[in-house]
């Protein structure tokens, strides 16, 4: 069974690092988006099982993107994990209030990415 995962992140280093971790889960198919707008375009035109979205991005930031996804009937149910450099609790709460299911704090740990992705994909 394949799981389509979208990584929306402006840093190529982070995209590669997250992709590296996700490849440890069998059947994961990764699509990358370089910013919020690219992410919105991709998420609206295809069906994904999970989206990992960075908060700080040019053109369209992660929080606005989550808001748009949650208001779009085509993709409103997709599980979302936010990637953030913000350590403060209020920032995490803001992301969760807007509809994110989980969050990852930078610097990220591979094992944490795998754990959250597995949980949101419903893989035991």
């Amino acid at each position: 069974m394949s799981h389509k995962v979208l990584i929306v992140e402006d840093s190529a280093t982070m995209r590669q690092l997250i992709g590296f971790a996700l490849k440890r889960i069998q059947g994961v198919e990764i699509t990358e988006a370089q910013d919020g707008m690219d992410g919105l375009k991709k998420i609206s035109s295809d069906k994904y099982d999970l989206a990992l979205i960075d908060i700080n991005m040019p053109l369209l930031d992660g929080l606005k993107l989550v808001k748009l996804i949650r208001s779009d009937p085509r993709c409103k149910d997709i599980p979302i994990a936010m990637i953030t450099t913000e350590g403060a609790r209020e920032d995490r709460e803001r992301a969760l209030q807007l509809g994110a299911n989980e969050y990852l704090t930078k610097p990220i740990q591979q094992v944490e990415v795998v754990r959250i992705a597995r949980s949101l994909l419903g893989i035991g």
Partner: protein
Amino acid sequence: MDKPDRPDDRYSITTRAEEFLQVFKRGAEFTQELLRENERLRYRLVQLEENLREAEKAPVTGTEEELIHRIRELEDERHHLLSKFKEVEAENKDFANRYLEVEEENNNLANLYVASYQLHSTLDFREVMQIILEIVINLIGAEEFGVLLLDEKTNELRAVATEGIRKEDIPAVKLGEGRIGRAAKEGTNHFPQKIAHEGPIDPLDPMVCIPLKIKEHVIGVIAIYKLLLQKEKFTPLDLELFTLLAGHAATATFASKLYSESERKLSTIQGFIDLLTK
């Protein structure tokens, strides 16, 4: 004068004597019976005692011996299994610890791989600077920092890329002066044992200094002023990344600078050639 016996009295005495005799006979018979029963029971008791003694003396039969042997075997097996279980439990704990270590090592290797892959993925100087910034933000967890390169003509270090702080806010530093200058001159990393998240930053006194070195030749310094709030301490990975950055980032920076210069020179030469040939 004796009173003659009356016939009634005589009859009564005779009857009572006979009755007494009957009772006595029955008593005697009962006593006899009791004595016989007593004898029989004593005999039975002796018999049982004898049986018991014989049973104690008698050797255990084959089946019983086998059962006792089996019980002993099972007892031994139980002890063996218990000790094996304890061994396996200890091994399990050891495996769990090793799993965590392997996971951490895996994480470190992935980070190091990605960092070196990205650093050498381009020859564009601005892109290399951007990648160094990304690595320092995302893999080390820095919030405010700058990359300073050494100008060999003036022997000064100048900020060429920054994050969370403006380039103009970091003054040029003479080689050997201050913490940044000393790190560049000596070529050694500087990082504190304890991380402070509060208080104003001093552009000339960074928390961490990582000299960018090609072998022993220093070409610049990464100066970190503030770390992300969630970053509480430096891990062994950070130290590895510092070393990696010291080498790979320096090589990538140097190569991209050379490439940019050669590209510029090439286009100038091409311009001359075009001018001469046309």
